[in-house]
């Protein structure tokens, strides 16, 4: 096998999940030459909602109306939570920078600066979140205003029942009326998948046909809800046009993952990130990493066809947890998969999970992960940075439980920001020294 010259870059980003995407964007925006590799992505499972902080302390299930106040309290009480290593202002800047990328590329988001909002889930239960896709925002407002709502679902689409949502949400929002309708041109298919419907909805003809089916059902409804099928990448346009055609504001409710809102983020990212100068290797796994005498990393891309290698001045590890592949659990212990970095973890497998799946305290295994210094560098067993130029971000970090704290996206984006900035600062300091 011949070895072509390695691809050279400043920063290699391992991972194409929420943290990896954010990191690549931040790196490119800061003028770093950036290569990114990832195998799969948890992003396709994302609901579209971007949480900042919803619950703290989780054992008391205390919900925060103001996520910033929640972060402040958490930083005090869980000083090794990754948020505690950051300034509030930087967390906000990180979110804004990330969101504006999607905004510019057809997936706008909305929030209230100092407030979590209540949003819907496909089982009908509501939950708090921070940034909401524009396509779902009308639902947030309509629920608050208790407007009469027509909620539709579709024949031959599984896992989403307007009737169920209306029943479950009934105490909070009694004015929701469910209806089951057919999807235009869906009759030929045995089962309808949201992704297929979303792509169909990009056509004005289909939108018109659907609007005509819905129109007679609207009656006194002031708002229309649907499962998340309003277009794949040109959602803004699809939503606005469709609302005009039906004559009332429309909103989406995310369906059970993997679903359209996650796919939108993934497709939009893949389409526009190269325009930022990021070289995206996807789907590709990094099989091995070596350190060169000058401190740079040489990474081998696992691939049956090419034998790409990447030589980078630094690495940002955003390889996720068990689902993402950054961590692996054997029968006896948890390991980090690429560098065999020490993983903070409970003493034995018997302590990984609690007896009640829904225990408010969360499962101890969810707090397992990499411990880092204040510049987001993972530590070795002696408590020193394992490598001077290896950084980590996202859900692989220890001392957080994004699922219970409702901080998944916020944590991924904010820590990516902090890690990229730490790498930039390190380079500048080096250059100054030289």
């Amino acid at each position: 096998m011949s070895h072509p010259e390695p691809i050279q870059c400043d920063l290699m980003i391992i991972g194409t999940g929420m943290a990896g995407m954010a990191a690549a964007l931040f790196a490119a925006n800061r003028g770093l030459s950036t290569v990114q590799a990832g195998v799969s992505s948890e992003v396709i499972y994302a609901s579209g909602y971007m949480d900042l902080l919803g619950v703290h302390p989780i054992e008391d299930q205390k919900l925060w109306d103001n996520p910033w106040a929640g972060i402040e309290a958490m930083a005090r009480e869980i000083p090794n939570h990754p948020y505690a290593l950051m300034e509030m202002e930087d967390i906000n800047t990180a979110l804004e920078e990330f969101i504006s990328f999607f905004h510019e590329n057809g997936i706008p988001y909305q929030r209230k600066m100092a407030e979590n909002v209540e949003v819907m889930t496909p089982v009908g239960k509501t939950r708090p979140t921070y940034f909401v896709p524009q396509s779902m925002w009308a639902g947030v407002e309509a629920m608050k205003a208790q407007h009469r709502c027509l909620l539709v679902d579709f024949q031959r689409m599984q896992g989403f029942s307007a009737r169920q949502i209306a029943e479950v949400i009934g105490n909070k929002w009694p004015n929701v009326r469910p209806a089951r309708i057919r999807f235009p041109e869906g009759d030929k298919l045995t089962e309808l998948y949201p992704e297929w419907m979303a792509r169909k909805m990009e056509s004005p003809i289909i939108r018109e046909k659907l609007a005509r089916i819905i129109h007679p059902l609207l009656e006194d409804a002031r708002v229309l809800g649907l499962p998340a099928i309003l277009g794949m990448t040109r959602t803004k346009e699809v939503v606005e046009d469709f609302a005009n055609r039906v004559g009332v504001p429309v909103f989406e409710i995310p369906t059970i993952p993997p679903a359209v809102p996650g796919l939108r983020l993934k497709e939009t990212y893949e389409q526009y990130i190269s325009g930022k100068g990021v070289r995206l290797l996807f789907p590709k796994r990094i099989g091995q990493v070596q350190q060169e005498p000058d401190g740079a990393f040489l990474l081998t891309v696992e691939d049956t066809v090419s034998n790409d290698r990447v030589r980078s001045r630094g690495i940002l590890l955003a390889s996720g947890r068990f689902l993402g592949g950054g961590l692996h659990a054997g029968r006896k212990r948890i390991e980090e998969t690429l560098f065999d970095l020490p993983v903070f973890q409970p003493a034995a497998r018997s302590e990984w999970h609690r007896e009640d799946f829904f225990d408010p305290r969360g499962h101890p295994i969810n707090r397992a992960g990499l411990e880092i210094d204040d510049t987001f560098r993972p530590l070795d067993i002696s408590g020193q940075p394992a490598f001077p130029n290896l950084f980590a971000a996202g859900s692989i970090l220890a001392h957080q439980d994004w699922m219970r704290m409702k901080c998944g996206s916020g944590l991924a984006i904010a820590t990516a920001y902090a890690a990229v900035n730490a790498f930039v600062k390190q380079r500048v300091d080096k250059d100054l020294q030289a």
Binding site: V55, T121, V123, Q158, R163, E167, T190, R331
Partner: protein, 525 residues
């Protein structure tokens, strides 16, 4: 069959025989009596198979397992397994079985085994090691002896559902979620039995001519409530279900009964176990990580593939063993059963039937029914020795592998799969719901899970639970927000069997499940 009076507070039901316990013994007895024309009421504190009948190995014993220590139990198993293979063949997979020894196992025991078997009249064939390994390639290279026996695999859920279905068709009543809490006696006669619905808290009184305590490991507690305690030993055993089937046959380790020495295949999976640990109480029986490790480590000697195997579920049951606390290994307490006639102790219309095995449930039911009928003056003979157990179509959905075969063979275009791992379509749910008859009102996910493969596949119920919930709402079986607690209960029920098995792939799966149900749906808050 309907019981409108059941809704009223403190309502009273009259029946000839009250059976306590909806396991194999209680349901088998209900069927036996019904076939003799005796209507009864069967009460169960949970759902069917809430006890050992829903938490066992599913081995229809040829008897060979007991030849060394318990010849009587061995002979009972031999005879009963032959009867069941003839009368309940649709609940049985006649796999055949092997006994194998590995290097280091007790040579004397191996040499004595044929003699023990002959003594008990258990048929066997010594098998060449090469032949054994070619028949079952999963066996270890280190096997030093192999014998073929007539073991088989039995589906306890199907068995029990079929028994109760026939009993109900013949006019008996089954009441779920209702617990016996006390007895009212007068002059050595139980007049009424006090019960409470564990879901609604409503009281119920049952007046019966005769009361049968078929409550398995709980038999001691119930007998004590009635005023004549029985000594019971609680021996907990845990079992692991593998993701795919490892062998065609049942495989037993050829040594005195010990940990992790039986592998029982069934449909598309295999079950390996068991352990044995004395416990003091019956509530909250859960498998531990240490038991899982013990089973995997021990089982590997016979079947090396177990080390890297993917496991989908672990569960524990408590063996109902009668006896005093001798301190010996509980595996040596007799597996024979006991029919206790409490009339000797001054309660004239009360018997207890406990101990025994799933394999001998029919015989236990027969002997109990004989006694009860004698008391009631009923002369009709037992019919379960020869009469076939009818097959109610709906229960086929409990068997691993069957649903997918059926569905692939022939299905309507809109008969979507609700569960993709185990291939359970909508039509399966429809037939389960209609087969539940008057119990339809108490429908929830957990009840459906018991009667199907829903939630038992690799995804651990992450997605099928939601699809089934949607279907139940759409069909009008659920109202307001009651589906949310149902979903939580269902996932927690499944969780019990997954929690200590989570490493490698299953851990990834459970992380996804938690991300969906907590991270996204926020069911925990």
């Amino acid at each position: 069959m309907a019981f409108p009076f059941f809704r009223k507070k403190g309502s009273l039901i009259k029946t000839r025989v009250l059976i306590i316990g909806g396991g194999a013994t209680g349901t088998g007895l209900a069927r036996d009596l019904a076939l003799r024309g005796v209507h009864c009421v069967l009460v169960e504190q949970g759902d069917i198979n809430a006890g050992a009948s829903g938490a066992n190995h599913g081995l229809l014993h040829s008897g060979a397992r007991y030849v060394s220590k318990d010849p009587e139990a061995a002979r009972e198993c031999r005879d009963e397994s032959i009867i069941l293979k003839q009368t309940a063949s649709h609940c049985i997979e006649d796999t055949g079985g092997l006994f194998v020894a590995v290097e280091g196992d007790d040579e004397k025991f191996i040499a004595d085994f044929p003699g023990y078997c002959s003594h008990c009249g258990i048929s066997f064939r010594e098998m060449d090691i090469k032949e054994a390994r070619s028949l079952e390639p999963a066996l270890s290279k280190n096997i030093i002896a192999a014998f073929e026996v007539a073991d088989a695999s039995i589906d306890p859920f199907k068995l029990v559902l079929e028994n109760i279905t026939q009993a109900r068709k013949l006019g008996s009543t089954f009441i779920r979620n209702t617990k016996v809490v006390g007895f009212k006696k007068r002059k050595g006669h139980i007049n009424t039995v006090n019960l409470v619905n564990v879901q609604t808290g409503e009281d119920l009184l049952i007046e019966a001519d005769h009361v049968v305590n078929a409550s398995g490991a709980w038999a001691g507690e119930i007998a004590a409530l009635a005023g004549d305690p029985i000594d019971m030993i609680y021996s907990k055993g845990s079992l692991l279900i593998t993701h795919s089937r490892i062998t065609g046959r049942v495989v037993n380790r050829l040594r005195p009964p010990s940990d992790a020495d039986i592998l029982v295949p069934g449909g598309t999976v295999s079950i390996i176990g068991t352990t044995s640990a004395r416990v003091d109480a019956l509530d909250d029986i859960r498998p531990t990580a240490a038991e899982v490790d013990l089973i995997v480590d021990e089982g590997t000697a016979m079947l090396p593939g177990l080390e890297s195997m993917r496991y989908i579920r672990v569960y524990s049951g408590v063996r109902p063993l009668i006896g005093t606390q001798t301190g010996e290994d509980d595996r040596y307490v007799s597996r024979g059963f006991d029919l206790v006639d409490h009339s000797g102790k001054g309660i004239e219309n009360f018997v207890t039937i406990t101990g025994g095995k799933l394999t001998t449930y029919r015989l236990m039911a027969e002997q109990t029914a004989d006694l009860v009928c004698h008391r009631l003056g009923v002369t009709a003979p037992c019919r379960t020795q020869t009469e076939l157990l009818p097959s109610a179509h709906a229960w086929k959905w409990t068997v691993p592998g069957i649903p997918s075969k059926e569905w692939l063979k022939d299905h309507k275009p809109d008969d979507f799969l609700l569960c993709e791992c185990e291939m359970v379509p909508r039509s399966a749910l429809d037939s389960i719901i209609s087969a539940m008859g008057e119990h339809k009102k108490q429908l929830d996910l957990t009840t459906i899970g018991k009667r199907s493969r829903i939630g038992k596949g690799a995804c651990q119920g992450s997605l099928c639970s939601i699809r089934v919930l949607v279907y139940l709402y759409d069909k009008g079986h659920l109202q307001s927000d009651q589906g949310v607690p149902h979903l939580r209960k269902f996932l927690n029920e499944r969780w019990k069997g997954q929690r200590v098995l989570l490493w490698d792939m299953p851990l990834i799966q459970s992380e996804l499940k938690e991300a969906i149900h907590c991270g996204f749906l926020s069911l925990e808050i």
